[in-house]
């Protein structure tokens, strides 16, 4: 896929995401700006740059680096799960989840090593709670 094309498309998408809601806020004039003025203005410029990039993509081509979605999604799943478990249960469970899930993205998986990592992180969490007064339900 042409990297330039994707970049341009991404910028246009961002411009639309921010520009369209900006129209629903009061725009006003420069001397009496409403909440929508700046976002609208900036979205237009971003959209314009995006369009320029898309046009250039027809003439130039740059190969894009491969997207490996697996790893980033594993990491994200780890983070999001950490937040959910820490909120509804406790941090120890969240740490265990985070370590076991995120290491799925590594090159080799070892449950024993994961347990050791969990132990260290749990100890650090307790230390942070005791010495810095971190406000989390640990257990």
């Amino acid at each position: 896929m042409n990297q330039l094309l994707i970049r341009g498309l991404a910028l246009v998408a961002i411009a639309l995401c921010f520009g369209i809601p900006a129209l629903t806020y009061r725009v006003g004039t420069f001397s009496n700006a409403g909440p929508g003025l700046f976002p609208l203005l900036v979205s237009c410029i971003v959209g314009l740059i995006g369009v320029v990039m898309i046009v250039r993509a027809r003439f130039e081509r740059v190969e894009s680096l491969p997207f490996k979605l697996r790893n980033i999604f594993i990491v994200l799943a780890g983070l999001v799960g950490f937040a959910i478990i820490a909120k509804h249960f406790n941090v120890v469970g969240a740490i265990v989840y985070l370590v076991f899930v995120s290491t799925l993205a590594g090159s080799d998986y070892s449950a024993v090593r994961n347990i050791k990592i969990c132990a260290v992180l749990i100890a650090i969490a307790f230390a942070l709670h005791a010495f810095l007064g971190l406000n989390l339900t640990l257990l």
Binding site: K68, V80, K87, S107, L132
Partner: protein
């Protein structure tokens, strides 16, 4: 002469065994916490603030200050070694991390340490000589002047864009501006782009974006390449050669100047100082071509600016009593609890606090240098741990760091979202540093622009009638024109000499 007298008086207070101990504790704790990815000076100070209530005032102030500037250094370390930034070490992720990838971590850390020392020293000299006068600077800058200054700051975008075209950097900066507008609009109270979610009502946190775009994206990138990159391997070469050492000094001095000045202005402090220093290096340094791919100057300028700004940001608090950023607001709270009202007469009413603080900053500076440069060797051995063990730990610290800003677990979702966004941008060849600059500067620009127009009742002349604003705008315009013409000349020259260009945007 009076200054020397005051300093002597200050040293008398700072050199008591108790205050020395508080200074040491502050610096050590600050550095340690700064090292931990994700946790920064703001979270640390707010967590440790209650502990200071039972300590005498001067000791508490010395310790908190030590934590603050110690954490600035610690943040640089985690940015350089693992590309995990905090508010004031974002730029260190650029050159510093590049140096790590080239195996020059020891050199980078040494440069950071020495530059921090130089930055701190310059700032302390500034504090001692100019403090009362400098406090008044904040009063000279009105909203239109800030607007002009921030526009000048936007020019730094070009400098912070390392690879590729400027237009990418500009686009990213503008995306950052859009992201910065999420939240409650100060001027109208309207909630913009918050999707009715309560935790977005105050906008996205800088830490969440920075950790997501830099740290998380980098982890994903490293995992993808399966090279299991370990930050270090092999010997740690700490002491630089004389030529390398000489390169540190001019950058550090320039950085200190920028940092000392920007630290005085409300809102920005160390966060903006690093960008200013980096831009200055890129413009004026002898080795500017290397900056962006791992040059000492990139690290030195930022580290010095950081430290300098951290110290001069005490000036508005102690000379007028107005805290100019969140960390200073915490210091103010510490004072109030002790029954001291910081105000315009603080230096006069409590000279032992002010001069004791200045003296202990000097002592803290020396502590940091002595503590960190050798300690770096031990710290680095931590990074000999294989990446597959290290990265879950980094993820954990990112979660804790992002949580501890607002004690809100929902911020972790934002960090995760920006991890994805940062990764996508990384793969598309778009850089996060200009995005963060835009994110910081955009809202400030909008806020000040609209405020200037409310005060001037809708008249634009306020931008040219005020001297500071007019001169800054003139500088910005001149610079902008110069940049465009230089770029146009370059492009024409290139097109003339190379018929078939392979250059992508």
């Amino acid at each position: 002469m009076e200054i020397l007298h005051n300093l002597a008086f200050g040293f008398e207070h700072a050199l008591t065994l108790q205050n020395l101990m508080y200074c040491a504790i502050g610096c050590a704790v600050g550095t340690l916490v700064g090292l931990l990815p994700g946790l920064g000076p703001l979270s640390t100070i707010s967590l440790l603030l209650p502990m200071t209530y039972s300590i005498p005032t001067d000791g508490a102030l010395i310790m908190l200050a030590g934590i603050y500037y110690g954490a600035q250094y610690g943040d640089s370390v985690s940015a350089i070694t693992m590309k995990i930034p905090h508010a004031s070490s974002i730029v260190a992720c650029i050159d510093g991390y590049q140096m790590t990838r080239k195996g020059k971590t020891g050199l980078a850390l040494f440069s950071a340490g020495v530059s921090s020392f130089i930055g701190g020293t310059v700032a302390i000299v500034v504090l001692s000589t100019l403090a009362p006068a400098l406090g008044e600077i904040a009063f000279l800058f009105g909203p239109s002047d800030y607007c002009a200054l921030i526009l000048l700051g936007f020019l730094c975008v070009g400098f912070v864009t390392t690879g590729g075209h400027m237009i990418n950097g500009l686009a990213m900066a503008l995306v950052g501006v859009l992201l910065g507008s999420i939240g409650t609009d100060v001027n109208s109270g309207a909630r913009r782009f918050t999707l009715d979610l309560a935790f977005l009502a105050d906008g996205i946190g800088l830490i969440s974006i920075a950790l997501g775009c830099f740290a998380i994206a980098e982890i994903a990138r490293n995992l993808d390449s399966r090279s299991e990159f370990t930050p270090f391997s092999g010997r740690i070469q700490l002491i630089p050669s004389w030529t390398e050492f000489k390169r540190i000094i001019p950058s550090a001095l320039r950085g200190s100047a920028v940092g000392s000045f920007l630290g005085l202005l409300p809102g920005g402090g160390p966060t903006l100082a690093q960008f200013g220093a980096y831009a200055l290096e890129k413009r004026f340094s002898k080795h500017r071509a290397e900056i962006g791919s791992g040059a000492i100057e990139g690290v030195a300028g930022q580290a010095a600016a950081d430290e300098a700004a951290a110290r001069t940001s005490f000036i508005p608090l102690m000379s007028i009593g107005i805290p100019e950023n969140a960390v200073m607001a915490l210091m103010l709270a510490a004072f109030i609890v002790k029954g001291i009202q910081p105000g315009p007469n603080m230096i006069g009413q409590h000279p032992e606090l002010f001069w004791g603080l200045v003296a202990s900053m000097w002592i803290g500076n020396c502590f940091l240098l002595v503590l960190n440069v050798p300690m770096v060797r031990y710290l680095l051995s931590v990074f000999k741990i294989p990446y597959s063990v290290l990265f879950p730990c980094i993820l954990f610290f990112c979660c804790i760091g992002t949580f501890s800003v607002n004690n809100n677990l929902d911020d972790i979702y934002i960090t995760a979202a920006f991890g994805l966004v940062g990764y996508v941008f990384l793969r598309l060849g778009l850089e996060p540093a200009p995005l963060i600059l835009g994110f910081i500067l955009g809202p400030m620009l909008e806020e000040n622009f609209r405020r200037a127009l409310v005060i001037s009742r809708g008249s634009f002349s306020i931008f040219v009638t005020r001297p500071i604003s007019a001169s800054l705008l003139a500088i910005t315009a001149a610079f902008f024109v110069w940049q465009i013409s230089a770029y146009a000349r370059q492009a024409l020259a290139r097109r003339a000499s190379l018929p078939a260009t392979h250059k992508g945007l």
